[in-house]
Symmetry: C2
């Protein structure tokens, strides 16, 4: 199974980022990218029903421009598999269920399938109790949190999703060391005339994906995104990326970074502690499996469902109607940028950098499956 | 009832802040301050059981240094009463209850009593279903959100509380106008060796209370806290206070203010839309009543309760043990500063500025009750 040799690009630190300036040299259709990912995950021994869900959730990110959580994660997963810390044949089980709560065990595999199952369960419990909440333990990276929160909103419910993250990157206010992950929060609510409200945000100021983007564009990194070991701002790409210290949302003390730090701790408690996962001090070595928290809530239990969606519409209208600072740069609401990108990529395909293509080619090679993306609409 | 004359200090705009530099010239005990507030609220016709709860929740803030939500709010409430938009004799009712959800009607009074009742109900529902969620409609200002989230943690549950706020102060990213309130989030989780984890944060970068504090200390306002009508930073006290435009957490585009803005919208949806309150575009006039959302969740339904509190302890230990940037300025966790202030004020009393004392004296006068704070431990 684990055919990649130690020392190959795919067994290097999971936290290595390739830094070559890469033009977008390949555009693929969602279907072809799905076929490639499907063949790889099948070759890893993942059961077919988990393959379908996993590919769907990864593609969710590729199609919406959340590139750090799209197909680029496959190389990261391959490294985990090679290191023996990811079980693609994981058995997912509901280990407790009582009233409006449940615990799902992810079986030490990827997080997409157990999180999808958990949100489906939360939605089912919300039908009976008005609300359902599910913790997932022994899970792995699950891609974009919004993919799960939006499942609830697609059925007329409010969705709230958090996850802990395996890599310690976020430095607490007043501290020097990266102690927490980027611990995201996703929240979705159905509207009526408008598409759903969908917030999906890391509790850090920026993600590494955004840092890389600045670097690729030849721009300095804004001085409240990253810190050096003395907690001074780091604004150059290579040092920042090797140092891996992100600020919590707020950026610095004046910017109330203790709020972003507090939110990151909240997410850690909801996602990991609630699921029974001990907090692993990152200074003591590799972090263990991650946990997720998924909640679905039925607005029709409080006020009339139609009234709720009307109120969400009115809120969105008011924000869209706010006078903009710059003409032509309107006030958006969470979810707008991703929807615009979805329309663009569904029509014109998904652009991949040369680095990502190289990674996928190597993943296909070590997985023993054909590489399907050569020259795809190039 | 409404004996204050139009044009008196207590009937002026609810958004007027006194700007005189005020030394802390009076220190009162919690008991004496409670007696003063009790006599005022009784004189307003508030039922005794609501008076006790309301005073308790206001004092919660005074004792913890959350001064903007302490006894200083009494003058604000008196102005609302004089304007006829606050009913101190409000009847609170549970209008819907089904499974793990309920809706409470605050009866257009203050928010402290209905929010307390709502959290008690959420805690009760969590015993039956593992989780309970309550929306409160037709409510008013309820002080510090942490006072309600901590009710859950005090009984071994996780508490999550949000509220909408009556005054539009927060400017959406890319916008010029204040469209949302400071819409806070409070989250509490029980620990074992440590006191509870307690996050209580506005989703704006700073509150007006903090702006005032900077002004009193003769400092410039940090340039990512407030905006002028062109969305340029405002850093001088008078202009900033009369302008009333706060940035969302993140501060500016580089700082990812769209995340704080997104959180403020999330809070608006959970607190107001869910409770059946229409969003009132602030450009169209005064905002209507506010709503709250209160959730209690039983960790023992997921993993063993003792394991959960141990995990929270370990997380707090790890944060406290993070190497600090400055020796002597350790990494704190949410709740630490308020607990330190509680110890200090419980022992030594609550300091009040001359402005606050003047306000309370005037509130006592128009309410027709004796002023009890003259010379209190001065």
């Amino acid at each position: 199974m684990n055919t990649a040799k130690k020392g190959s690009p795919l067994t290097a630190s999971a936290h290595t980022y390739k830094l070559a300036v890469a033009p977008m040299d390949l555009v693929v259709t969602a279907d072809r990218l799905a076929a490639q990912m499907t063949s790889v995950l099948r070759a890893w021994g993942m059961p077919d029903e988990h393959v379908a869900v996993t590919v769907d959730k990864i593609l969710y990110a590729d199609l919406r421009g959340i590139d750090s959580h799209g197909c680029t994660t496959l190389a990261f997963y391959q490294r985990l598999r090679a290191d023996g810390v990811l079980n693609p044949r994981a058995v997912i089980s509901v280990t407790r269920r009582d009233g409006a709560t449940a615990l799902v065990d992810g079986g030490s595999g990827l997080g997409h399938a157990p999180a999808t199952q958990a949100m489906a369960l939360a939605i089912e419990m919300a039908a009976a109790h008005g609300i359902g909440s599910v913790a997932v333990c022994n899970s792995g990276h699950f891609g974009a949190a919004g993919a799960y929160a939006s499942m609830a909103a697609a059925t007329g419910l409010i969705g709230l999703v958090t996850t802990s993250t395996p890599t310690p990157t976020v430095v607490p206010t007043h501290g020097r060391q990266a102690m927490l992950g980027t611990n995201p929060i996703a929240f979705a609510a159905p509207a009526r005339r408008h598409p759903m409200f969908l917030l999906d945000m890391a509790t850090s100021t920026a993600s590494f994906g955004k840092v890389l983007e600045q670097w690729r564009k030849g721009r300095a990194i804004p001085d409240r995104w990253m810190l050096d070991q003395h907690a001074a701002p780091l604004t150059t790409g290579h040092a920042a990326l090797s140092n891996q210290r992100l600020t919590p949302l707020g950026g610095d003390l004046d910017g109330a970074s203790y709020k972003g730090y507090g939110l990151a701790m909240m997410v850690e408690i909801l996602s990991a502690a609630l699921a029974g996962l001990a907090f692993a001090d990152p200074r003591l070595g590799r972090r263990p499996r991650v946990g997720h928290f998924l909640l679905a809530l039925d607005p029709s239990r409080f006020s009339a469902a139609a009234a709720f969606t009307d109120h969400v519409d009115a809120l969105i209208d008011a924000m869209h109607g706010t006078d903009p600072v710059e003409a032509g740069r309107p006030v958006l609401v969470p979810g707008d940028p991703e929807r615009a990108m979805l329309a663009e990529r569904a029509a014109n395909g998904i652009p991949l950098t040369a680095n990502v293509v190289d990674d996928l080619r190597e993943v296909a090679r070590v997985s023993g499956v054909p590489f399907l993306l050569d020259g795809a609409r190039s």
